[in-house]
């Protein structure tokens, strides 16, 4: 754990609410090492999701530097960021956000549509990702035919299918019961430990955060490392 895959330096994010400017992040410094499983906790409105958006290249900081995998992403254009996200980041959402008209395999294939590869190769890689999350036998099922836990597994397969360096999970267990949530956390642990994925997970759930190797607390736009 010697190399920082995520390196934030004095990151400030300000939103405009009407005429008023609201500073949500106040000069954050944060390093996440390659291969780390980091949980980001904090009360609602503390700026967790904003931070996740910035690290994932979905939004730009007002000031400061964000380096991910050695690339200064705050300097990239919107188009460059789209390409960068496709190559380097996998996203996992609280509500899975699967395409309802596509079956599990097709959902997993989505990020691969952006890469130059044959349909056969796409299918094979999607099936491999589904096997990793234990859902190969549900490949042809539509999202409505799957349970919440299974949907989240498909979403995780979609996040890892293009083999990104970094997985960003926003409350991945927030919509699941305890047992299913544990299964998902087990899967994230496996991805981190066995497949070497760096994971940054936003969560409200202390039990979920406990599964991460490192917990970072946020409050009012500032960071505090947990014990």
């Amino acid at each position: 754990m010697s190399e920082a895959i995520v390196d934030l330096d004095q990151v400030v994010k300000t939103f405009r609410k009407g005429r008023e400017k609201v500073e949500v992040l106040h000069g954050l410094d944060l390093k996440i090492q390659r291969g780390e499983f980091c949980a980001l906790m904090g009360p609602s409105g503390s700026g967790k999701t904003t931070l996740l958006n910035l690290i994932g290249g979905l939004d730009q900081p007002t000031s400061g530097r964000i380096s991910v995998n050695g690339e200064r992403i705050e300097q990239l254009s919107s188009r460059q960021l789209a390409g960068w996200r496709a190559r380097h980041v996998g996203f996992i959402f609280q509500f899975y956000n699967l395409m309802p008209m596509l079956n599990a395999r097709r959902n997993v294939e989505l990020p691969l549509l952006l890469k130059k590869m044959s349909g056969k190769e796409r299918r094979e890689r999607a099936m491999t990702a589904l096997e990793i999350v234990g859902l190969a036998d549900r490949a042809r099922h539509l999202p409505r035919e799957l349970s919440g836990g299974q949907e989240q597994r498909v979403a995780i397969a979609r996040a890892i299918v293009s083999d990104p360096d970094l997985l960003l999970a926003d409350e991945p267990t927030g919509d699941l019961d305890r047992t299913t949530a544990d299964d998902i956390l087990d899967l994230l642990n496996t991805l981190n430990e066995r497949h070497g994925k760096t994971i940054l997970m936003v969560t409200h759930d202390p039990a979920a955060a406990e599964r991460a190797g490192r917990i970072v607390q946020m409050d009012k736009g500032a960071l505090a490392e947990a014990a």
């Binding site: 958006n53 994932g56 979905l58 939004d59 919107s78 188009r79 789209a82 390409g83 960068w84 996200r85 496709a86 190559r87 996203f91 959402f93 509500f95 956000n97 395409m99 309802p100 008209m101 596509l102 097709r106 294939e109 989505l110 990020p111 691969l112 549509l113 952006l114 349909g119 796409r122 979609r158």
Partner: protein
């Protein structure tokens, strides 16, 4: 590419009923477009077939007012004129008075010279010229009535009784002509003027209009003015125009068909634009979250714009092609039944080409706004809304 097309297809089929209704409205609009294109062609075909070196001289007041037969000879003497003949509307029908067709008493030898596009075997020409009751009919007309050379057919005139008071005129079909290179209307027939003139109960030595063949089509206006000047201040003043001008004027008696067609299609497509545009906009609004997810995983603004545009283009082009094909089939079907009323009724290739172009424009216009909105969508706003 194939993967993106799969995505477009899946999006279109997710709400099957809505897509079907939208497709149906596009199909109906383009079917109407092909139908009206065919009808418009039927009214303008006379203009297309008109000879550039022929003038038509009518009574100045109305084309139903006759001209004296002597005008033909006087026109022949005007400078720039090669030849002249005449025709008269006979008002002919075979058995059903509602099915009138174009039968024209004329000087058949001059007709042969002035209209070289009317092609007929020499022996048939000879037989026709030798028989006063001989009739030459177009191939399409002969086929539609089941006539062949040698048949004796009684035709009726809705205008001219014979001297014995009968409206029935006996004929022998002596020739069946074809239009060389499709340049003549084959839904018409010609008879000897002398047979008509000597047999009719009234209107002797008058003709409907005079057809003049001129030396130089570039001098058509000049010759036309010379003809009208020749008969100025006489009891029967004339109005001369090119054959194309005459055909256009004849068609315009039914109204400005082209303008009417354009206005109807304008209304149809404006409504279609609103319906399809609204459907597309609604479809995109419902998928705001999904589009945001696509962007999150790396779809660029341009790619998202392309996906939405591809959907609207698919609906417009698929619907347009089906509609145009069905419309063309309907025109073909109608043409076989209504050949005697609309000899030029046929699918218009020009209209089909414009239809395809219109389908592409429709797809682009209806998809433009939703596609632009989708491409401008901010991921964090869209996902924050969920």
């Amino acid at each position: 590419m194939m993967g993106s097309l799969m995505l477009v297809g899946k999006n279109l089929t997710r709400t099957k009923l809505r897509t079907l209704f939208t497709l149906a409205s596009v199909i109906i609009a383009f079917m109407l477009f092909a139908l009206l294109g065919g009808i418009s062609r039927a009214f303008s075909v006379g203009v297309e077939l008109a000879g550039a070196d022929r003038l038509i001289t009518l009574h100045r007041v109305s084309f139903i007012q006759p001209l004296p037969l002597s005008y033909v000879q006087r026109i022949r003497g005007i400078e720039g004129v090669i030849d002249a003949t005449h025709q008269t509307w006979f008002g002919a029908y075979f058995q059903d008075p509602r099915s009138q067709f174009g039968l024209f008493p004329t000087e058949l030898e001059e007709l042969r010279r002035i209209y070289p596009e009317l092609e007929m075997p020499v022996d048939q020409w000879q037989a026709l010229l030798n028989n006063q009751t001989g009739l030459m009919v177009g191939r399409a007309m002969a086929e539609s009535y089941g006539w062949s050379v040698g048949d004796q057919v009684p035709l009726f005139s809705s205008i001219y009784p014979r001297q014995d008071g009968s409206y029935s005129w006996p004929f022998v079909i002596e020739g069946i002509f074809t239009g060389a290179g499709n340049e003549a209307d084959e839904q018409q027939a010609f008879m000897h003027y002398d047979y008509f003139n000597e047999g009719r109960a009234f209107g002797r030595d008058s003709v409907g209009w005079v057809i003049t063949q001129i030396e130089d089509p570039d001098r058509a206006d000049e010759v036309a003015q010379a003809i009208d000047r020749r008969f100025a201040n006489s009891p029967t003043e004339t109005k001369t125009s090119t054959e194309a001008g005459f055909a256009a004027g004849f068609a315009s008696q039914f109204g400005n068909i082209g303008l009417i067609v354009q206005m109807i299609m304008g209304c149809v497509f404006f409504t279609l634009l609103l319906i399809t545009g609204n459907t597309m906009a609604q479809a995109v609004r419902e998928r705001t979250g999904e589009l945001a997810v696509l962007k999150t995983i790396g779809f660029s603004d341009r790619r998202v714009l392309g996906l939405v545009l591809a959907e609207s283009l698919t609906v417009a082009i698929v619907g347009g092609v089906i509609g145009l094909a069905l419309g063309s089939l309907a025109v073909q079907g109608a043409a076989s039944v209504m050949a005697q009323f609309f000899p030029g009724l046929a699918p218009s290739v020009g209209a089909l080409g414009w239809g395809l172009l219109l389908a592409v424009v429709l797809g682009l216009v209806t998809g433009a706004l939703p596609a632009w909105q989708a491409s401008r969508l901010r991921v964090i706003d869209a996902l924050g809304r969920q």
